[in-house]
């Protein structure tokens, strides 16, 4: 508890709820996320790829918990890992053909794709290296106990005063309705 830390972290430690072993958890979760990401793009079997993506999603949910965003972590697990990945597994089983597991795995022009990705990586590294001085050293500790209430206020509150995203929320529900209708109509055998 050195005086250099922010007031929020100090009070959290005093309340007995300070995070413990933070660097260890970060490196384990980040390493897990990146390793599973590599497994997603390199497995020949699509089911293995899907399982690796589930591990990546859970690791990223853990990283959200470390960033004091419990509601986003919960939404990630429910929607992504519990909903979207089940959908992916269903579709993999529907379109599975044995022929595809014995064919070539990567494109004919995979060097070009890899070079483009490396150029993108170089761009990111240069952006992070140049902008390193702009980031503040200590992060602000958000209160964890009212996270859901505050997000709910922003999403559902009175437009203009506190709820800045109420309209966007309604549009998102409309988007989901359109997606449901589109998916149902596209996959019906006879319309």
């Amino acid at each position: 508890m050195n005086p250099g830390m922010s007031a929020g972290l100090n009070s959290a430690i005093n309340a007995g709820m300070a995070p413990v072993g933070t660097p260890w958890f970060f490196y384990v979760l980040a390493g897990l996320a990146v390793a599973s990401g590599v497994a997603v793009i390199t497995r020949r079997n699509a089911v293995h790829s899907a399982l690796a993506l589930i591990v990546t999603l859970l690791a990223v949910a853990g990283l959200y918990l470390m960033l004091y965003a419990p509601f986003v972590a919960g939404v990630q697990i429910i929607v992504y890992a519990g909903g979207i990945m089940v959908l992916f597994l269903f579709v993999i089983m529907l379109v599975n053909i044995d022929r595809s597991s014995k064919e070539r795995q990567f494109n004919r022009i995979w060097p070009v794709g890899l070079a483009a990705a490396c150029a993108l990586l170089a761009l990111f590294v240069s952006a992070i290296a140049k902008g390193k001085a702009l980031f503040p050293d200590r992060m602000i500790t958000l209160p964890e106990s009212s996270n859901t209430q505050q997000i709910a206020t922003m999403l559902y509150g009175e437009a203009g005063k506190m709820g800045q995203y109420t309209f966007a929320f309604e549009i998102a529900s409309l988007l989901l309705l359109v997606a449901i209708l589109g998916a149902v109509i596209m996959t019906k055998k006879k319309i």
């Binding site: 990546t56 990283l63 990567f106 890899l114 992060m139 922003m154 997606a179 998916a183 996959t187």
Partner: protein, 102 residues
């Protein structure tokens, strides 16, 4: 490196993003291309939530929730397209989905 700063999370997000881009550009199986797109969206979400922590407000988290909702809708529609294409042509190779080529 005793304390984890925003930079650490940005590096992880950049790594996931590049892995997703490699997956989209080099794989032949359409389902794996769609899964790499989900990887890209997750990297963007991680970026947003890390910045939300840095600035101390919740705009980044709300944006991340909207992106998650959007990713669900897009996965459903993309997989629907894939299934209806598979019913027509019986293949899931990106190289062989070329009916619109001249």
């Amino acid at each position: 490196m005793a304390e984890i700063t925003t930079l650490h999370y940005l590096v992880v997000a950049a790594a996931l993003f590049v892995l997703g881009v490699i997956g989209v550009l080099t794989r032949r199986n359409v389902v794996i291309v769609l899964m790499s797109i989900e990887l890209i969206l997750n990297a963007v979400n991680l970026n947003l939530v890390a910045f939300s922590r840095m600035w101390g407000n919740l705009h980044g988290q709300v944006f991340a929730i909207f992106i998650t909702v959007d990713a669900a809708a897009e996965a459903a529609v993309g997989l629907g397209i894939l299934i209806s294409f598979f019913r027509n042509k019986e293949t899931i190779n990106v190289d062989e989905i070329d009916l619109l080529k001249w």
